[in-house]
Symmetry: C2
Subunit: 270 residues, 2 copies
């Protein structure tokens, strides 16, 4: 297992690399995992979302427990929508309430798959080797918009707002997702705690099946869908999504968020 | 009115610029409309999609005539989905039938808005000035997938396949869309012929309203939605979408397409 982060230096430049003992060993990039030789102290760097996806493919109804609760059959193909690049923020960045929306905003703690290699019509084996690593996603949703128009469910709009895709704090390669759980806390109170081995489509199956439809590029993220315990975020509340081995993704809705928390939240960064 | 194209040179490099009398006057780019001084013969260049959008925002139910036919009320906010970057192809490129989909594939001839400046929470006036120009879109759809799962309409999947967003052949700035019509021919037979002034949300309203939700970037495209006359494309059939003043966008489904047609189709290129 290796932990990877993307951070901003004081001059505004962006660096990506492997984190070890408080230092970043810089690499060319996700798609070119070649060390540049530079080693930088994490203390001088500001964490960003750990990758810059061109798109985020977000799954709906991908956990048996949630399907059972919703009384929906599990799907025969991943059901997805697309969240745009501008929706992505990193850990400790603020989720912004849309100016013209006063309705319910919900959190969804999820596992995120980070693509490392261009992937088109990949077999499950090819898909497995195209996965760079795993991160944590809070798939934020303006729940009141999904069914606002009775003729057209607005999945892309409800989930596509700027700042509605929280990613981070790190990417972990070689991560054994099968033994992990997603734990979501709202203002410190546990709201989700579900096992990832309850997934309908495994990460490699998701990558393979989605790549039959559309080309996945390095840095793209697939949000694996959520399970039981989704709930509302009131303005000013903080959502922390944790996966043991990856860390904690922490984001506050619409109020000033404490800075400098995210480094400590990355396991192995200290 | 100026006509803009994006083309590939014989060495594989991509050039963008203003077209006049068979020559391309190269510019830095959409977001930096500064001439480089280079003037290239169009004959030595291969046309591409006229921009490389990070995302395509595609509207549903944006024409009064189609809403009336479908017996749906016109919406109070643009209803949209997102087509990913990899779905974009240029005029004369092939639409590929997805390997695992034997169902109905339909054409939708549309006006495309090309964004010239980053646009976030823009007023209608700011939105108007952020529009670089207009192009033509064939918003290709695997119609059989939209309602395949009764619990989740698959708009992004049905419209998001690689090659399912035909764009081109050119962008025209200063274009008076209000007086224009979209004419779609299937293997030479007219199937759509509708006036753009029947739109529910004008281009500037679309850009302004969508920019309240998500940031639009230079090169992004909004597909304005289609009107009456949508129909199936059988394998090997050619769809030509024309807007007088912009040109003709021609794409064939799943069979070898004649090359070199698109330059002649750009009005003003000759």
């Amino acid at each position: 297992m290796e932990t990877w982060m993307r951070l901003m230096a004081s001059d505004g430049s962006i660096v990506f690399g492997r984190v070890e003992n408080g230092y970043l060993h810089e690499y060319e990039g996700l798609d070119q995992p070649v060390p540049t030789g530079a080693v930088l102290s994490l203390r001088a760097l500001t964490p960003l979302a750990p990758c810059a996806p061109g798109k985020v493919v977000a799954l709906w109804n991908n956990f048996h427990a949630l399907a059972a609760k919703l009384e929906k059959p599990v799907p025969s193909h991943p059901l997805f929508l697309i969240k745009p690049a501008a929706s992505v923020i990193g850990s400790s960045e603020l989720i912004r309430r849309p100016a013209h929306y006063a309705g319910k905003i919900v959190f969804e703690g999820e596992l995120g798959i980070v693509i490392g290699k261009r992937c088109r019509e990949a077999s499950v084996e090819e898909a497995e080797s195209a996965i760079f690593g795993y991160t944590i996603v809070n798939d934020v949703t303006a729940a009141g918009l999904i069914a606002e128009n009775p003729h057209f469910p607005q999945w892309c709009r409800a989930k596509g707002f700027d700042t509605f895709c929280c990613l981070g704090p790190a990417i972990v390669s070689g991560f054994d997702w099968k033994r992990a759980r997603v734990v979501t806390k709202l203002d410190g109170v546990e709201r989700q705690n579900y096992p990832l081995d309850d997934m309908v489509f495994s990460p490699a199956q998701q990558v393979s099946l989605i790549s039959q439809d559309l080309t996945l590029e390095p840095g793209d993220v697939i949000a694996c869908g959520t399970s039981l315990g989704v709930g509302s975020i009131v303005d000013g509340a903080t959502v922390e999504v944790s996966i043991e081995g990856i860390g904690t993704l922490s984001n506050t809705l619409g109020a000033v968020c404490a800075q400098g928390e995210s480094l400590a939240a990355v396991e192995g960064a200290a």
